[in-house]
């Protein structure tokens, strides 16, 4: 395997001793076909065991290795070294508090995920003895794309609205709420609308579209948010302009 000398500039922050973050330069030799995560692993194994970052699967499914690579939110296990020339700048995911080095605190995102109730809320209780919920392939396809989210938070790091207004529920959580709202087995839309159709829900979104550009799983959260906006507007018109509130 052909090796290449890789230079990385990695953001470091030690919460016990530092008041600000700084960059540290490393040089490692890595196989050409490797990814940025390989370079970080090599640094940790051979140069600097104090370097902190998260990863698990090394195959773009667990969503834990997100970081800013040359200013772009990326999964580091999916950022191929051959696509980068010169020094590669590695920073923790934007818009999240830095816990240590490249490790950020995901608590805000997790909290928002919980708020949108990302699980099936059946229309009416059904005993197990009544059998399974049936769904046609067309009904499945209606929401399938929005099930592919790996909770990597790259979309939050790309979204300037989230950066400027952290109370924004944000792309992935709203896309996931939309996923359940579109599910023929679900009856929880009203409960979720209270959260996602609010000012800090979809109306905080100005359709920059960055979330969909960076999403490694092709979820296209921006499309979900625009669809929620349209559906919520239709709700509003029904409620205010139709006799009986459209019920």
């Amino acid at each position: 395997m052909k090796e290449r000398l890789i230079q990385l500039e990695v953001m470091r922050y030690n919460p016990d001793t530092d008041t600000a973050a700084h960059f540290q330069r490393y040089e490692v030799s890595c196989p050409e076909e490797g990814v940025v995560l390989d370079a970080l692993n090599k640094i940790k194994e051979t140069i600097d065991p104090t370097l902190n970052y998260r990863w698990s699967c090394h195959m773009a499914v667990c969503g834990s290795c997100g970081m800013m690579i040359n200013g772009e939110p990326k999964l580091s296990c999916h950022a191929f070294l051959r696509e980068y020339a010169g020094v590669i700048r590695v920073e923790p995911l934007a818009h999240f508090p830095i816990e240590r080095d490249l490790v950020t605190a995901p608590d805000d995102f997790i909290e928002k995920l919980k708020r949108v109730k990302p699980y099936l809320i059946p229309k009416e209780p059904k005993p197990i003895s009544a059998g399974e919920y049936l769904q046609t392939p067309a009904q499945l396809k209606r929401y399938h794309q929005y099930t592919l989210c790996i909770n990597c938070m790259l979309c939050y790091a790309a979204c300037p609205e989230y950066g400027l207004t952290p109370k924004f529920i944000g792309p992935a959580a709203i896309a996931l709420a939309h996923r359940y709202n579109q599910d023929s087995r679900d009856g929880g839309r009203d409960e979720r609308q209270e959260i996602i159709a609010s000012a800090e829900g979809v109306w905080e979104c100005t359709f920059v579209g960055a979330c969909s550009e960076v999403c490694p799983a092709h979820v296209d959260p921006a499309s979900a948010l625009q669809q929620v906006k349209i559906a919520s507007s239709i709700d509003w018109f029904k409620e205010h302009l139709l006799p009986g509130g459209g019920k």
């Binding site: 600000a20 973050a21 200013g71 934007a94 830095i98 067309a138 950066g163 960055a210 625009q226």
Partner: protein, 129 residues
């Protein structure tokens, strides 16, 4: 207990951080031209209501070089603005027929066609052809 580091987003210069943010701002700025053109139309209506001489003065002002440059800029901005919206319709309004989704460019394309038809009708009513 150690404390996490919060990085502030610069409120007025964040869009210089990435070309995609600049593209977004370009789209937003085009709306200023669309708005300015609406104001111009209202001023035109006002001068029409004020009588023939004021309307003729308005028409004369429209022929000034500054006005022509503004119209060209506003036309370019309106076209760009409209195109970004029409391209977005396929994301905002997906249509599923049976199992499959209608291809996105058909949805956007239908908007372009409707645009062309409506514009022709308006131009026809205005006596252009």
């Amino acid at each position: 207990m150690s404390k996490p580091l919060i990085r502030e987003v610069p409120p007025t210069s964040w869009y210089f951080r990435h070309p995609r943010y600049l593209r977004y701002m370009a789209r937003e700025v085009t709306s200023l031209f669309v708005g300015a053109y609406c104001v111009l139309l209202v001023v035109g209506l006002q001068s029409l209501a004020a009588g023939q001489s004021s309307y003729e003065a308005f028409l004369l002002a429209l022929q000034s070089p500054a006005s022509i440059i503004f119209h060209l800029l506003a036309l370019a901005a309106a076209l760009y603005h409209a195109a970004t919206w029409f391209n977005a319709t396929q994301k905002a309004m997906p249509i599923q027929i049976g199992e499959e989704f209608v291809p996105g460019n058909l949805i956007s394309g239908a908007h372009y066609v409707a645009w062309a038809v409506l514009s022709s009708v308006i131009l026809f009513l205005a006596g252009v052809f």
